[in-house]
């Protein structure tokens, strides 16, 4: 895959090992070779992301894949934390959720999500979805250059 944003990390916040395995598999299947950084629970992600001094390299993130229902902290609260950080305020956040509840969908968009995607049930559908996401966010969409903005 010709990659506009090669090298920039993809941050995945996902507590389910199976889902994370499928996500990684699907991204690799889609020829995405960006580094994938995973936070395995909401709490650790929140600690890392709520303080701008930590993990300054995160500003280079291509996009964030965010699970909504995680033990401890809800995806929407993490989203809020991103948007407060100057270096992550503009980074695309794609919510990946089991829930097709309209309330969840509305809430995520109003908190600044860039896309809301319901996790498909079958492996094949999942692969197709991830491929579409990678194509769009890595090859089609122009992402803001946070380094340039801040320097």
């Amino acid at each position: 895959m010709r990659d506009l944003n090669s090298g920039r990390p993809i941050v995945c916040i996902e507590d389910s090992n199976e889902d994370f395995a499928t996500i990684s598999h699907a991204l690799r299947t889609a020829n995405v070779d960006n580094p994938i950084l995973r936070y395995a629970n909401g709490r650790s992600a929140y600690l890392a992301l709520s303080n701008a001094d930590q993990c300054s390299w995160l500003g280079d993130t291509a996009f964030v894949l965010l699970d909504l229902n995680m033990p401890g902290i809800h995806g929407c609260d993490l989203l809020k934390a991103f948007r407060k950080r100057s270096d992550l305020a503009l980074t695309p956040v794609i919510v990946l959720s089991t829930s097709s509840n309209n309330d969840d969908v509305k809430r995520c968009y109003s908190e600044g999500a860039n896309a809301y995607v319901v996790k498909p049930l079958t492996l094949q559908d999942f692969e197709l979805t991830m491929l579409a996401l990678a194509r769009f966010w890595l090859c089609t969409a122009m992402l803001p250059n946070v380094r340039q903005l801040t320097s």
């Binding site: 389910s16 199976e18 889902d19 499928t22 229902n69 089991t98 509840n101 079958t122 999942f126």
Partner: protein, 782 residues
């Protein structure tokens, strides 16, 4: 038969104005004293007659007025000579001691000093004058002593000890009587035995001042007065006040000739002497005429007091001739009557008390059942319950009214009449309405006088027509009056004046009183009011309870929502894992898996897919229960168009024939959910069809509310299954027969309909087809 009133009437007051002279008011003129001179009284002066200053006495004793300062006799009755053998002219100016001796005088003064002024004349001593026994009575009146010397009658003197034990026995007997009436029955017969009068009666004053004979004992040969009513004017207010003041009034001989007191006016004050407490006081001419007209020869009257007021009289009458009771017997009678007053009050209170106790218990029980059964009709209007509103207050019938719902108990007017009465009462804002003559206020009540001449109603709500009512029937349609109550006096025109005489006829005069019930007592009105506040209390606490339950329900619902939400995530996540792993397995073992292995993996995927559908349906169903419908007016015809568009593929595949006989009307509701109802019903109709040509008809019928239907020519539904098909995930057929499906479609359809306030039902014939009917609003709404 001639009935005669037996009562002590001391004057005629003007009936219409009741402008009574005050008891202690001094006379404005001396005209009052002239009354003795004539049997007729000028009409213009009857109001002014001072019943307590008659200026004359009865002839069975002598009255002397003595100064307090020097005990000198200043006035004397003209009959001194006949009784004391000394003329009144001679006695006036004498010192008391010179007439009665030093010892007697000292005794008189001694006794007098112990006397409480309020007790009236007191017996001070008995003395013999020329072998005749005399009783002396004395009391103070201003700066004077009024001394009365009464000849002791030969008959009727019992030794005091006999009188005492007799009275004691009576009181013991009286204490054991149960009701007030049996109490009085005993009282009159005992007093008659004891005094020897030919007739003894208890006469009770009613609210309007008229009297009612409630008990009587008499010689068998005499006609009865029992139950007779006497107009208020027979015993006018000033006379009633005098009765309340003295404990006993005795006229031994009604036909007596009054004896004047000389001089007429007191030398001390220049005014007539106040003789209101004098035993010998002469009664008014009119009263004597009244008694004579009744054929009464002798009377003795004692007041029955309750709570400081005159409640009634015990009246003793002799018809055959004079009857003079000795002081001892009178005193015993006086004492007995006083005791009776006290006992009577407690008897009457006890009767009242048992009613109060009953009412209290009934109120408590009704409130209790109302807490259990908040419906007023069931809680308070159950005729079979031990306590209901009818038993609460003494009445003929009762009614519980809430809006259009009327429950009648006992002998209440018709439902129609009660409903009309409610609309009339509506205009009145009072909490309690009570009348014993409803038809005078409300014309239509004339139609049910026998049921509701009296009405007691409580209003339960300011804004709603909720009432509790009690009805009392017309009562005592006939009142027996002793003579025409409208004509207590006769007018006589003479040469110079219009003169007044008490009525000569006491012929029974019956008055028909219509449209009146027994009046509601203050206590009953209070009890009704208590019930009102009790009901309000229960309703309020119930409202609070409903609010609390609502809150709990909201909490439970929101919990259920989060449960459904969590379930969707927590159940779906492992499902997805299974599916994905199956996918990985299938790919990585592609070459090593045989046909059976591949088919098994495919089955795993299919089953997880199915489970995913089920979870979705469940979530959807839970979602419909949420109170966030978008209720708007919408065009059902357009909604149907959209539903058919959604089902396009299935319709084409099944080649179903969709019919719409006429356009559907507009409805008020949540269009997306109504669309779901149609989609589910139509797809159901197509799915469960085994006919060559599948036909589905969507239509409606005007009504209140409008009824819609989806009719098919499918397989039909057995009667026994008509409820089962609405149960979630309940299937009547094999999973893959008739195209499968999650089994929630009809459940969801019915739930949507119910959320709109409507209902859904089925008509079906096996193998011919089914019709699903539904409404989208409550019965009665358009």
């Amino acid at each position: 038969m001639i009935k005669r009133a037996p009562f002590y009437v001391t004057g005629v007051s003007k009936v219409s104005t009741g402008n009574d002279p005050g008891l202690l008011q001094t006379p404005t003129s001396s005209n009052a004293t002239q009354s003795r001179a004539s049997d007729n009284i000028p009409l213009g002066e009857c109001d002014n007659e001072q019943v307590h200053i008659p200026g004359a006495i009865q002839p069975h004793g002598v009255l002397l007025v003595v100064t307090l300062v020097d005990l000198r006799i200043i006035q004397a009755s003209e009959n001194c000579e006949a009784l004391l053998r000394i003329t009144h002219a001679d006695i006036i100016g004498s010192f008391l001691s010179s007439v009665f001796g030093e010892t007697n005088t000292t005794n008189i003064i001694e006794n007098l000093s112990h006397q409480d002024r309020g007790n009236g004349s007191c017996h001070v001593l008995r003395l013999m004058v020329f072998d005749v026994a005399y009783d002396l009575f004395a009391h103070k009146s201003g700066d004077a002593i009024i001394l009365e010397v009464e000849k002791v009658p030969f008959n009727g003197v019992s030794p005091l000890i006999d009188l005492y034990s007799g009275v004691r026995l009576m009181i013991t007997k009286l204490q054991t009587t149960k009701t007030l009436l049996s109490f009085f029955d005993l009282v009159v017969s005992q007093i008659r035995d004891f005094t020897g009068f030919e007739r003894v009666m208890v006469y009770k004053f009613l609210e309007d001042g008229s009297g009612h004979v409630i008990a009587e004992a008499k010689l068998a040969s005499l006609g009865t007065y029992l139950d007779l009513h006497y107009p208020a004017s027979d015993i006018p207010a000033p006379a009633r006040r005098l009765f309340a003041l003295s404990w006993l009034r005795h006229i031994p001989d009604v036909a007596y000739t009054p004896v004047r007191l000389m001089p007429e006016l007191s030398p001390l004050t220049g005014e007539p002497v106040d003789m209101s407490a004098a035993l010998l006081r002469s009664v008014s001419v009119i009263h004597r005429q009244y008694l004579k007209n009744m054929g009464t020869s002798s009377t003795m009257v004692m007041p029955l007091m309750k709570d400081g007021g005159l409640w009634g009289l015990i009246s003793c009458i002799h018809h055959s001739g004079p009857r003079h009771l000795a002081h001892e017997t009178r005193m015993a009678a006086e004492f007995l009557t006083h005791t009776l007053s006290l006992m009577m009050a407690s008897k009457e209170d006890a009767e009242d008390l048992s009613y109060r106790e009953h009412t209290k218990a009934a109120l408590f029980n009704m409130m209790h059942s109302l807490t259990e059964e908040p419906n007023l009709h069931k809680g308070l209007g159950n005729i079979h319950a031990q306590h209901n509103v009818k038993e609460f207050i003494e009445c003929g019938g009762a009614a519980v009214v809430t809006g259009d719902h009327i429950t009648r108990l006992g002998n209440a007017p018709s439902e129609r009449s009660v409903a009309d009465l409610v609309s009339w009462l509506q205009s009145d804002t009072q909490v309690v309405f009570a009348t014993d003559r409803l038809s005078q206020l409300y014309e239509p009540a004339k139609d049910f006088l026998d049921l509701g001449s009296g009405l007691l109603a409580i209003r339960l709500s300011k804004h709603r027509s909720d009432f509790i009512m009690w009805f009392r029937p017309e009562q005592a349609t006939t009142v027996k009056w002793a003579g025409d109550p409208a004509k207590p006096v006769n007018l006589l025109e003479t040469d110079r004046d219009i003169r007044l005489r008490p009525r000569g006829s006491f012929a029974l005069w019956q008055q028909t009183v219509s449209g009146r019930s027994r009046p509601w007592s203050d206590f009953e009105i209070k009890a009704a009011t208590d019930l009102k506040w009790g009901i309000v209390d229960v309703i309020l606490s119930r409202t609070e309870k409903i609010e609390r339950l609502n809150q709990e329900l909201t909490d439970a619902n929101s919990e259920l929502n989060s449960f459904a939400y969590a379930a969707s995530h927590d159940l779906k996540e492992p499902l997805r894992g299974i599916t994905h792993l199956t996918g990985f397995l299938e790919r990585s073992r592609e070459n090593t898996l045989d046909g059976q292995g591949r088919s098994q993996l495919a089955t795993i995927v299919r089953l997880t897919k199915r489970m995913d559908d089920l979870i979705d349906s469940l979530l959807h169903y839970a979602h419909i229960g949420r109170p966030d419908q978008a209720i708007l007016e919408c065009d059902l015809d357009k909604i149907l168009d959209e539903a058919l568009l959604t089902l396009q593929t299935r319709i084409t595949e099944s080649r179903a024939l969709i019919q719409r006989p006429r356009p559907l009307p507009s409805v008020v509701g949540d269009s997306s959910r109504i669309s779901e109802v149609l989609t589910n019903l139509i797809s159901n109709a197509i799915k469960y069809n085994n006919k060559q040509e599948c036909r589905v008809e969507i239509g409606w019928k005007e009504g209140n509310p409008t009824v819609f239907y989806v009719r098919d020519n499918g397989i039909g539904i057995a009667d026994a299954d008509r409820e089962a098909i609405f149960q979630i995930f309940r299937r009547l057929h094999g999973r893959d027969e008739f195209g499968g499906g999650s089994g929630a479609g009809l459940t969801i359809a019915r739930k949507v309909v119910q959320r709109h306030g409507g209902s859904m039902w089925i008509e079906s014939v096996i193998d011919e087809g089914s019709t699903f009917w539904f409404t989208l609003s409550q019965h009665g709404s358009p």
